[in-house]
């Protein structure tokens, strides 16, 4: 047991009660700090990778949105999950991140996209990743294994995204006829609410290919999302491992 080599006359806290008060205040301050940190970091990586699909109804398609969103979004939770599980045995990172993300997105949609740019809220609502986070965290705790959480929880992350967000988008996929053009309500919203910087062709959505097997690419997208989420999880758990290892990196000069 290595004692502190400096000449300390006494530790800063003497009684267990004092110590627990210090620890508890640390808990609460860090919990709130993490909320703002996760809002900042997770939101910025989200908006710059899958943001367009999340901003607008008429981007939420069955090919890109359903697959790309969960695959891109599992990266940061995987890394942070590793940090909190390996050093604190806390299985809440994925839920905390996805909860913070939803809070940050709604704040922005209401105050900025709606409050500043005047888009209706039913056109700019964010998707939810909270059920994906819950599935990942609970699988981790039940399996007590980073690997099994990745395989089972990672797959669930990709699949549950579709299950949980279908209720949100489905009402906007009702068909309408606009002067001879078949459109969904989401397409119609995109046409009605003028976006000078975002013409129709800029949408990265399923436009059909000669090779789409079967009618509906949804199931392909969901399966891809599930399996690719596992891969991304494994890679970014490694990133988390690197940040954990950095705990012992101190340099005399930078």
């Amino acid at each position: 047991m290595a004692a502190s080599l400096r000449a300390r006359t006494a530790p800063a806290t003497v009684t267990p009660e004092e110590r627990n008060r210090v620890y508890r205040r640390f808990d609460l301050v860090v919990a709130i700090l993490l909320f703002f940190l996760f809002m900042g970091l997770y939101h910025v990586v989200t908006m710059l990778t899958v943001g367009d699909w999340d901003f607008w109804d008429d981007w939420k398609d069955s090919r890109w949105w359903l697959s790309f969103t969960p695959v891109a979004e599992i990266a940061m939770p995987s890394a942070i999950l590793f940090i909190f599980w390996s050093r604190f045995r806390l299985p809440f990172a994925a839920t905390f991140l996805t909860f913070s993300l939803v809070a940050a997105e709604w704040l922005n949609r209401v105050l900025n996209m709606h409050g500043w740019a005047y888009f209706p809220l039913n056109f700019i609502w964010p998707a939810t990743l909270i059920p994906c986070g819950l599935a990942l965290d609970t699988t981790l705790l039940l399996s007590d294994s980073i690997l099994i959480a990745g395989i089972v929880g990672g797959f669930l992350w990709g699949v549950v995204f579709y299950l949980a967000n279908w209720p949100l988008i489905a009402p906007f996929l009702a068909p309408v006829n606009l002067h001879g053009a078949l459109m969904s309500l989401a397409d119609l919203q995109g046409f009605h609410y003028i976006r000078t910087g975002t013409p129709e062709y800029i949408r990265i959505i399923n436009r059909g290919t000669l090779r789409t097997f079967g009618q509906d690419p949804v199931y392909l997208s969901v399966a891809f999302a599930g399996f690719m989420s596992i891969v991304v999880y494994m890679v970014f758990v490694g990133v988390g491992w690197l940040f954990v290892k950095s705990q012992f990196s101190w340099f005399k000069k930078i």
């Binding site: 080599l5 006494a10 800063a12 901003f55 740019a117 800029i202």
Partner: protein, 277 residues
């Protein structure tokens, strides 16, 4: 001489009065966050008032008056604030970090954590609030300048605010806490330098948008540099564990050990003590 940030006392513990342990001060955090919130909300209200009415045409005299003047004012305020705050932290530093009582060190660690809280709060405003607001502007209007009403607030107000606070926190730790004064913590350096690097990435992006990236998607590879440097914020995870080791030592009087996680035999953060002894 005792100041708010610098109270160096080496006192006899047996004679020490039993007062409440000085730790993270919620009032300090609340007041700091309040000031940051006022700065950011004021910016947001200014945008609400003048962006659509005066900010659509960068060649108009109104734009020069309401937006370019704001930009230059921001630069001036930031230069003065950075010089003032960093200068204060630096010049008021204690000259001797070798004999700091544990209670004082814990108090300073609490200030350090409070400053990091303010840094993170400012990062939220920049990276979350004003960043997505930028999408609502650029996907709605025709871009005609790098200094749009959303960019002037996002890149040239919110970003510098968190950079100033991040470096302030770093300087405070370096000058008040023996561990951070003796060595540079890699994850902490990453957590400060990474988000700072978003500013050079802005320059690259504006160059790209002026010349070849003419569509206003957010999902574009040119933006991925922002993502990479945002990831640097995870350095705070490594710092969290270093702070836990620090708190453990200060509250128990013993250095942290790592048998349970197959870590090193001793905490390398205490290398400076070994070298001193």
């Amino acid at each position: 001489m005792a100041t708010l940030l610098n109270t160096t006392k080496v006192s006899d513990a047996t004679a020490r009065a039993r007062t409440e342990v000085q730790w993270i001060n919620p009032s300090f955090i609340a007041i700091g966050c309040g000031i940051i919130a006022v700065l950011m909300v004021a910016a947001r209200l200014y945008q609400q008032q003048y962006a659509w009415s005066m900010g659509l045409d960068s060649t108009s005299p109104e734009f020069q008056k309401y937006w370019m003047n704001l930009l230059f004012s921001q630069f001036a305020v930031e230069a003065v604030a950075a010089t003032g705050i960093w200068g204060y932290v630096w010049f008021s530093r204690p000259r001797d970090l070798s004999r700091v009582e544990a209670t004082e060190e814990l108090r300073r660690l609490g200030v350090f954590i409070g400053l990091i809280f303010l840094y993170v709060f400012a990062v939220f405003w920049a990276a979350s609030f004003f960043a997505e607001e930028d999408a609502s502007w650029h996907q709605t209007v025709v871009r005609d300048t790098s200094f749009t009403p959303s960019h002037i607030i996002l890149f040239y107000w919110a970003f510098p605010v968190y950079i100033i606070l991040g470096i302030t926190s770093y300087l405070y730790g370096m000058t008040r806490l023996p561990r951070f004064g003796a060595r540079h913590s890699l994850p902490w350096v990453i957590a400060v330098a990474g988000p700072f690097m978003l500013l050079p990435v802005v320059a690259f992006n504006e160059w790209a948008h002026s010349f070849w990236i003419l569509e206003e998607r957010f999902a574009a590879p040119v933006h991925w540099w922002f993502v990479i440097f945002a990831w640097a914020g995870l350095g705070l995870g490594g710092l969290l564990m270093q702070v836990c080791d620090y708190i453990y030592e200060l509250t128990t009087g013993r250095a942290q050990t790592y048998e349970g996680t197959d870590g090193p035999a001793y905490d390398p953060a205490l290398d400076f003590e070994r070298e001193a002894s």
